[in-house]
């Protein structure tokens, strides 16, 4: 990239966890680096920076994305939700609560991504059975290998959310 391309910045405005955010960013800045470096929202992690691990998963307009593969500039005019934005009035989201109860985390480094991914997985209607959950949660790696517990947590949360909505 030439020096001039770098110094050119783009003005963006978006909402992050319900808060309006305005910033001027380099075109090359990823959404992940924007969240972590500029907004100090470090819940989303950088496990690979290439779309392989899912530790950087956030919601953009309700869809789960690997934020390392999204440019901050392209998130302008969209709604971004990170793991920090899930709890409402201090109360944990049912998925967060289920992750604790099912012991679906060890080191916790993949956990933000897993939880965001699980929220979307349930919303997409992909939490009908353990097998379905295992398949649709496979974009999020966990090297501590909490997979059975993660599947259990997603199922637990999905059933509770169904019951709450019924």
């Amino acid at each position: 990239m030439s020096a001039s391309a770098r110094s050119q910045t783009i003005d963006i405005s978006l909402t992050v966890n319900g808060r309006p955010v305005q910033a001027s960013v380099e075109p090359r800045l990823s959404l992940l680096d924007f969240l972590r470096e500029e907004l100090d929202l470090t819940g989303a992690k950088k496990g690979c920076n290439r779309g392989e691990c899912g530790t950087c998963t956030v919601l953009v307009d309700g869809r789960r994305v690997n934020s390392c593969l999204v440019l901050a500039a392209s998130a302008s005019n969209h709604e971004v939700v990170t793991v920090e934005g899930l709890a409402k009035d201090g109360e944990l989201h049912p998925v967060q609560q289920a992750f604790i109860e099912a012991d679906a985390l060890q080191c916790g480094f993949c956990t933000s991504g897993q939880i965001i991914s699980a929220v979307a997985c349930i919303e997409e209607g992909h939490a009908g059975s353990t097998e379905e959950i295992r398949e649709w949660m496979s974009g999020n790696l966990c090297r501590c290998s909490c997979y059975p517990q993660i599947a259990e947590a997603v199922e637990m949360a999905a059933r509770r959310m169904e019951a709450d909505n019924a």
Binding site: V83, E135, L141
Partner: protein, 741 residues
């Protein structure tokens, strides 16, 4: 009173760090920010052997203001104090950027600093090193050699040659025998958190936020690098995003970050990329294991030979003691082992989950299965027949061992005795059943913990241990709560930094046994102090429900402390090892080891070579289990690691260029959720190991990853009749072997 005993320990207590982790609030090393910090990005050698002639940094420096390019010339020289730090805990004696020699591809030749990560990354690409190339030594092609004790202390942690009886003669005359060679590729840990460090100097003192497994190692090593006193180095690591061994010792990037910060006068944040994790920290080395086993007509082992070779760097001799298996698993009068290394231009391997017994159990557990088939004996009966009642090397009694109970309970839960015949069809799939021993030697480290009881009936644990997801922060509060008769909610703790009583490391499945015993001893000391003040015999004193009681006399903690005129009682205890040792493998004369039996069912598609894990049953003998919830997660995590080792993982070197061919999670497969069935049946036999420590516990973290590859390979053989000796067992190898069956 039984209700007290079961109130906190042995409960499924959820993790104390759960809430901060699910909220995304837990800050890892790479999440730290220091005002004015510089981001470091390394320039790595693109040749595996040679010399750095020069470095052209003009373009990089011209990119923007504030860019710094550090080369060997700019770095401080290592202080002679570092000579007193052994390897390990210093990971390798070879610290890059001290001279111009290049010994492996990916060695750091320069470090670029810039105020933003993007700028540092861009600038690093513009730095142009000029090399003079030497001829490349591919370690995998070298003749195995004896390890040199002068090349680091790794080779001193076990016997390099050892023989008992006359294995060759016994082998020659036995009626049943097998000889095979088991191989496995190098494997990288791929913890989800790449290593990261933020280094910051202030008034001649160094503070680091680091991603690691042992606070004290980092503290003493960095102090030695700069000739500082230990108190002048502060280390902070509240969370580590998985370590699996490769964050156990102090690797060069940790030293380089601290040096860079010193040189530039600003805080330096050095976060490794996934790619860096392949060259800049260790991995489990490529191994070849020559096995020879023989038995009599009844299956009694007559001879075991395990001759092990592993690759290592030119800089230090790392020895992967797979032969620990032959020395420890089975009763046999004639055993012989050897360990050799093959040196070449690669970065140094290291201990990785599960070291020694992990690779060792793959070779021995598979060879024993071969022998059982050769002799026409059920693989489980073969193991029962050769059960090692005492430690095979020394004949000493184990600290505690309930493996026979594991066999029985595992066989019952799995239905081993009534399993369908191997190769039975289920649709397209062939079903196969296999089992193997799990076993890992128990390291115990000297470890200290502080504990304070307040008049309010609360307690606080303080110890510098790291919690990398294995759960000690939770378990130690349970230990304190139980021993002081308090609810868990009344106990808080601090860990993961210097300035606290020095804990042993978080590796070698040693944390619970080492620091856990220190916490228990501190609690007992508090109880003894209280009892002494009340003039009660300590043996008759009970702490329960926030009270202290002797027979019918009962005082709340608050009242007792008031009586004594105290606001709090503090104690600090050290789990000290006999003879002042820093580490041992159980009390003298009572070797400690954790055991288990793993049974698996796999499905193999004979047309495509695909393998699926259908279910697994593991039963373990690991002393007292302190938290069944976190213990289960540790075990299932280990089994999944083993599944990866058995069927997926491997890092390969380009034979010409000496570089890791894949350095990412796309080219190196690791298990994902869809690979793992929900049906992992885990249990523990009831056991209290008095000999290993007052807590009654042993370790499980490494144990769980042993034996898995053997059980899986044995099950694939059961399904197909094909015996695969080379890991990972991938579809291409299965199809190749099926053509020959």
């Amino acid at each position: 009173m039984s209700h007290q005993e079961s109130s906190v320990i042995s409960e499924k207590v959820t993790r104390v760090d759960g809430p901060s982790k699910v909220r995304g609030e837990a800050r890892y090393a790479g999440d730290q920010k220091v005002d004015g910090q510089m981001h470091a990005v390394p320039v790595l050698a693109t040749i595996p052997a040679g010399e750095l002639e020069s470095i052209d940094a003009k373009q990089a420096l011209a990119l923007a203001d504030g860019i710094v390019v550090l080369t060997a010339r700019d770095m401080p020289r290592l202080h002679p104090d570092l000579d007193n730090i052994t390897v390990p805990p210093l990971a390798t004696r070879h610290i890059p950027m001290q001279d111009n020699l290049i010994l492996y591809e990916g060695q750091v030749v320069a470090l670029v600093l810039a105020p933003s990560l993007a700028l540092a990354t861009e600038a690093a690409k513009l730095v142009k090193p000029i090399y003079r190339t030497h001829s490349y030594i591919n370690p995998e092609h070298q003749v195995p050699q004896s390890a040199d004790p002068a090349r680091g202390n790794y080779s001193g942690s076990g016997p390099l040659d050892w023989t008992k009886g006359t294995p060759d003669a016994a082998y020659a005359s036995a009626p049943h025998k097998v000889k095979s060679i088991y191989t496995q590729p190098s494997r990288h840990a791929n913890a989800m958190e790449p290593s990261a460090i933020v280094a910051h100097w202030h008034d001649g003192q160094l503070t680091v936020w680091d991603s690691m497994q042992h606070i004290s190692s980092v503290q003493i090593t960095l102090a030695a690098v700069f000739g500082l006193s230990i108190e002048d180095v502060r280390v902070i690591a509240p969370h580590t995003g998985g370590g699996f061994g490769v964050k156990a010792f102090v690797w060069p990037h940790e030293i380089l970050a601290a040096m860079a910060s010193k040189v530039c006068g600003k805080a330096v944040k050095f976060v490794l990329t996934r790619q860096h994790m392949y060259n800049m920290v260790g991995y489990q080395p490529q191994m070849t294991q020559h096995m020879a086993l023989a038995c009599d007509e009844k299956g009694q082992l007559a001879a075991i030979r395990q001759d092990v070779e592993n690759v290592t760097s030119l800089t230090d001799d790392y020895v992967e003691f797979g032969s620990a298996a032959a020395r420890s698993f089975y009763a046999c009068d004639n055993i012989s082992i050897s360990q050799r290394v093959k040196r070449g231009n690669i970065n140094l391997p290291t201990f990785m989950r599960a070291p020694w017994d992990g690779p060792g159990s793959w070779a021995l557990g598979s060879a024993l299965d071969e022998l059982a088939h050769e002799a026409g004996i059920d693989p489980l009966d073969m193991r029962i027949r050769n059960h090692a009642d005492t430690e095979p090397q020394t004949g000493e009694p184990w600290s505690s061992k309930m493996l026979l109970e594991c066999y029985e309970e595992g066989a019952r839960r799995f239905g081993w005795r009534t399993r369908p015949e191997g190769g039975t069809r289920d649709g397209y799939w062939l079903r196969g059943f296999g089992m193997a021993d799990c076993s890992q030697g128990q390291a115990r480290f000297q470890s200290s913990a502080g504990l304070t009881l307040t008049a309010e009936g609360t307690a606080h644990v303080a110890s510098s241990f790291c919690d990398m997801g294995t759960g000690p922060a939770t378990i130690f509060r349970q230990v304190a709560a139980e021993a002081l008769g308090l609810p868990l909610s009344a106990v808080t703790s601090d860990h993961g930094q210097t300035g606290l009583p020095a804990a042993g490391p978080t590796y070698g499945q040693s944390t619970t046994i080492s620091t856990g015993n220190a916490v228990l001893m501190a609690a007992r000391e508090i109880k003894a102090k209280l009892a002494a003040h009340l003039q009660w015999p300590v043996a008759e004193t009970v702490m329960e429900d926030g009270c202290i009681r002797r027979n019918n006399e009962r005082l709340s903690i608050k009242d007792a402390m008031k009586l004594m005129g105290m606001q709090e009682i503090a104690s600090e205890s050290t789990f000290a090892l006999p003879g002042g040792a820093y580490v041992d493998m159980g009390a003298p004369g009572r070797p400690a080891r954790s055991f288990g039996a793993l049974f698996v069912e796999v499905l193999v598609d004979p047309d495509l070579g695909l393998v699926r894990l259908r279910r697994a049953t593991g039963v373990y003998s690991a002393g007292r289990i302190l938290n069944p919830l976190t213990a289960r997660s540790q075990i299932t995590g280990g089994i999944i690691w083993g599944w990866g080792m058995a069927t997926m993982e491997g890092s390969h070197l380009d034979p010409e260029r000496g570089r890791w061919i894949s350095r990412d999670l796309a080219g190196v497969p690791i298990p994902v959720n869809a690979d793992i069935p929900a049906d992992l049946d885990i249990s523990f036999v009831e056991e209290f190991d008095h000999e290993a420590g007052p807590l009654g516990a042993r370790g499980i973290g490494e144990l769980a990853a042993t034996g898995v590859a053997a059980a899986v390979g044995n099950a694939i053989f059961d399904a197909t009749g094909a015996r695969l000796h080379d890991l990972p067992i991938t579809p291409d190898k299965i199809l190749g072997a099926l053509r020959l069956v």
